[in-house]
Symmetry: C2
Subunit: 334 residues, 2 copies
Amino acid sequence: MRIAIDAMGGDHAPAEIVKGALEAAAEWRDTTIVLVGDTGVLEKLVQGAPANLELRHASETIAAEEEPVKAVRRKKDASMVVAGRMVREGEADAMISAGNTGALMTTGLLIVGRMEGIERPALAFVLPTMDNIGVLALDLGANMDAKPEHLLQYALMGSIYRASVHGIAEPRVGLLNVGTEEAKGNELTKAAHDLLAGAPIHFAGNVEARDVLQRSCDVLVCDGFSGNILLKAMEGTASAIFGVLKEEFTRSWRTKLAAAIMMPGLRGMRKKMDYKEHGGAPLLGINGLVFKSHGSSDARAVKNAVRQARSAVQAGLIRVLSAEISGKQVGLND
Amino acid sequence: MRIAIDAMGGDHAPAEIVKGALEAAAEWRDTTIVLVGDTGVLEKLVQGAPANLELRHASETIAAEEEPVKAVRRKKDASMVVAGRMVREGEADAMISAGNTGALMTTGLLIVGRMEGIERPALAFVLPTMDNIGVLALDLGANMDAKPEHLLQYALMGSIYRASVHGIAEPRVGLLNVGTEEAKGNELTKAAHDLLAGAPIHFAGNVEARDVLQRSCDVLVCDGFSGNILLKAMEGTASAIFGVLKEEFTRSWRTKLAAAIMMPGLRGMRKKMDYKEHGGAPLLGINGLVFKSHGSSDARAVKNAVRQARSAVQAGLIRVLSAEISGKQVGLND
C-alpha cells in the first residue's frame, strides 16, 4: 500500500508533517509513505528514515490564502497537485494534505476526478461524542449551497463509509435540524427529510445540534454551511471552557492541588473533544481516496490520518462506494 | 408600567412562572405584573401577593406540541393570545411567555401585528460570552428561510436594540459565516455581506462560530436555521462538558475535595454559560414588546425576562425602532 502525503501543506509544515510521516512509516512497515514536496528541504528532515518512506519532488507550494481554483490550475507542480495526480494514476492508494481546504477540494475534483453518479463531493469528519465513538458528519464545507438530492447522496456515502471503514452495521443516519419533529426545518431540510425517509438507509430522523455529543446517530447529514457552523461552535465552546478551567486550576496552590487530583480524569475529556485525535476528513464522492487533515495538524494528527487512510484502502472504499452508488441508482432530478 | 405574563406556558408552568412573577412584583413596585391564565388555578398560587400583581382570566392554554397557526387562530381565549391582545390594545406595555415558540411568533404577527417596514420579525437572544457581556444574536428561529434583505433588517433592529436597551454605543455587527474572509459563505451570506457593508451600521464583517464566545461582535446576524444550530451546539457542548466535570468531581473523596476547592471559581463559569441567566428573547419587528422566555424557565428566568422587558419599555424601544426603521428607509427589493 502506498500513501502520498503533501509535506508542504498546513500551519506546521513541513516539520510536523514529516515527523508524523516518519512515525507512520515506523509503525506500519507494509505501507510506503511518499512525502511530496521540495526534496531540497525534505531530505534533511528524513535522515535515517525507514526504507518504506520515500520522497517525491514537487517544486511548488499552494499557500493557505490562495484562491483555490486558480492555484490548482496554475501550479501544476504544487505538492498537493502532484499527490493528487499520483492517486489518479494509481501511483498512490490515498493522499493526505493539511493544506488549503478549498485547493484540496479542487484537487479532488479537477485532478483526481469526481465519482460517477455523485453530483457533489462532501467533506466528512468524525465529530467527538461523549462515549468516544463519534458521529461521522457530512458535509462540513465542501459545498456551501446544497440541494435536497445532495443531502441524500451524503447520507448514502456516509452510511457506506461508516459500515465499510468503521465496521458499524446499519449505521443510523440523522438529519441536522432545528427540532426533532418531522415538519421542522427550512425548505432544504424539509425536502431532504422526505428523500431520506424513502432511501435505502437506516434513517433516524431529525437530530438537534445539542444531541450530537450524545451520539444520537452514527452519520449526521447537513449542508456545508450549517455543518461548518456546528463544528466550529462545538470546537469554540469546548476550547473556551477548557481555557477557563486552566485559568481556575492555576489560580492558587490550593487550586493547583485540585488540578493535580483532577487531571487524570479531565485529560480524558480534553482528549475526547480534541479534533486532532480523529485524524483526517475524507472527501467522499471523489474517484480516489483524498483526506483533509486539520490545518493545525501536528505529527500525531498526521499519523492518525495515515491510520484512517489505511483503513479506507484496506476496506476497498472506492470500489465499494462506486458499486453501491451505481447499484442503488441514485439519480438526481435535475 | 404593566407587563403581562402568560402564566400557563412553559415546562414548569404555572408554578415557576407564578413564583418568578411574585419575585418581580416584590422587586419592582412601580411595575404591575399581570398574570394571564386560569384564575381558578392561579388564585391559590398568588395568596399574599403584593398589590402590584394582578390576575387576568384566560380559559384556554396552547400546548407545546400544538400546530402554531391553527392554535392561535382557534384558541382566542388562550393565555398567550389574551396577553398578546393586551399589548395590542395598550393594556400592557410588554408580554412574556415561556410557551410554544411558534405560537408566540404567530401571536406576535397575527394578534400584536408586524411593525411597518419590517418584512420578517426576528427572535433575538443574548448568547453568553467569556467576558459576561454577551452577543445579541438574531434571528434564532423566527424565520427559517431568510433572504439577504431580511438579514439587513435584523442588523438594523439588532443595532437599535443594543444601543437603546443595552446602552452600547455603535454596536459592532457581525455576520455569522464559515470564514472571516469577505468572499466566504453560501449565496445568502455573500449577498448579505454586500448589503451590510453598505448599511448605516457599524459592520464588523464575517464572524466564525468559534469566535462568538470571545465576543468578536455585539450583534450577530444570521438566518434562523443556522442561528438555531449555533445556539444549540453551544448549549449542548457546554452541558456535556459540565456533565463530565460533575461526574469526575464526585468520583472519590479526593475528587470531592478538589471539587470543594474549585467550586467558587467554576460556579461563575457555569453561570456564564447558563441561558436562563439571560432572561427572555425579544421578538423584534413586532409592533409591541413580545418576549420569549426559555421553555424550561424557572422563577429566576421569568424574573430576568421581566427585568429585560422593563428596560425595553423604559427605553421606548418600539417608538425608537419604528422611527429609525422608517427614517432609514429600509426598503425591500421584492
